[in-house]
Amino acid sequence: MAETVQAPVEERTKDRMEEMYVNMGPQHPSTHGVLRLLLKLDGEVVLECTPYIGYLHRCHEKIGENRTYTQVIPYTDRLDYLASMYNNWGYVLAVERLFGGDIKIPERAEYIRLILGELQRIASHLIWLGTFGLDLGNFTIFMYCFREREMILDLFESVSGQRLNYSFYRIGGVALDLPDSFVSDCKAFLEWFKPRLPEYDAITTDNIIWQKRTQGLGILPKDIALSCAASGPMLRASGIKWDLRREDPYGIYNRFEFDIPVGENGDVWDRFWVRRREMEESVKIVEQALEQLPPGEVMGKVPKKLAPPPGDLYSRVESPRGELGFYLVSDGSTKPYRYKVRSPAFVNLSTLPSIAPGHLVADMVAILGSIDIVLGEVDR
């Protein structure tokens, strides 16, 4: 009797597993663009997470190889479109290094680069904080962050005429000098911005729900962080004090006082907290730079025909998301022979499959948010 009852039940359930496959993305509110995650779920517990990327692939590198060195600059804007200034910087720095010290950048240009770069870091972290708030269900922090970011964009607009894709850095300097009002505007912004951070804290850091939703999740241990080559806040949250602004200084970073915030556990909270404190540090850097800002030229002497000597080079900067590297190979012509972008978000995202399993779907969203990906940069 028992067998006869058993058989049909088996029959009915044989192709129904307890695991469920769910596509999260590409059209999902919290994949920050067009990322697709294939989740294998048991109830709500993520057993396996496979990212599928490439929805935004434009073959950036191929385009780069078909343009002259200067013409690539606008394309770098479209990599990490939330930190275009930094992409510009990373790229022009790589080309300048490829010339092997033949191009001298004027002091003032260095300061402008640094000020804009650090403002961009604040803007990028603000977007991150806002969207991370959305992921956790806190809508208000999103609006607050965007309010302040908008002010930074206004500053950028006054400098470059653009609000998102600036193409402002040039090989050998920057495109234009700062407008007269910039220094006072920027100071006014910093004065406005500094008291805003405690305001954010009131609805994020100090809130017990926020703490509970971030602490102890998505832990990325030191050894895996290194093996996965995580970089930027992601790496620092895991307790490794590695910031290229300090460790491999470029520009004029070694002239300024600033701390490098480091986390302890490598969980979502640490990533949040590292970024949150980095904004303070960036404010410090900008303030110092504004004080020291020298007068002078903003473009150095650059050969008319930009053709670096043959050779190859890997150049890296610390973008808001981590180590932004450019691997350039020159064959002596005006176009890069090989132009490769090592985007921090791409590498950081590759850590997701190793940290996601075992978490609930809700935490999965928090973890993904804490990685801070920009799909323009991941897919290139």
């Binding site: 073959c59 290194l226 996965c228 460790e247 691997y327 090989r338 590498v347």
Partner: protein
């Protein structure tokens, strides 16, 4: 071994590599404090593993280059040591026909996606890669766009006026 990158200058690291791998190191120099070696494909994983044990625990970048003139493809590994601030670049050259390199996932997990990308865009196969699929392009894409002889009617080439 007892050797760590801490006590060594870039030149000494290069020396150690040459001693240990002898013939396999096809070329080696130090440029701007960075150790740059070219190694044969057969010894690449061993050399990279050795560098890792020396303290180069961070694989910054893994890229591929198409040297169509020489009929070769190249895989470039950019390494750095977080502790000792050393940098290294390892090049592996392989023939354009049947380009196969051994995967370094066993040394650095980050190589996973990098290798998939190089395979996707340049068509270099990585032996021992557990998940050898395209990553950026769709599964049914034909060809490898970053090869210099890749043709696509949608590709706009830049010709200076």
């Amino acid at each position: 071994m007892g050797l760590t990158a801490a006590s060594m200058t870039a030149d000494q690291i290069l020396q150690a590599l040459k001693e240990r791998f002898g013939e396999a190191v096809l070329q080696g120099d130090v440029k701007g404090g960075e150790v740059r070696v070219t190694v044969t494909p057969s010894q690449s994983v061993e050399l990279l593993g050795f560098l890792c044990s020396l303290g180069f625990e961070y694989l910054n970048c893994l890229s591929g280059v198409d040297w169509i003139g020489q009929g070769e493809l190249e895989v470039v590994y950019n390494l750095s040591s977080l502790q000792y601030k050393h940098k290294a670049e390892v090049n592996v050259r392989i023939p354009r026909e049947n380009p196969v390199v051994r995967s370094v996932i066993s040394i650095w997990k980050t190589a996973n996606w990098h290798e998939r990308e190089v395979y996707d865009l340049l068509g270099i196969r990585f032996e021992g890669h557990p998940d050898h699929r395209r990553i950026l392009l769709s599964e049914d894409w034909v060809g490898h766009p970053l090869r210099k002889d890749y043709e696509d009617e949608r590709l706009v080439r830049y010709t200076p006026a």
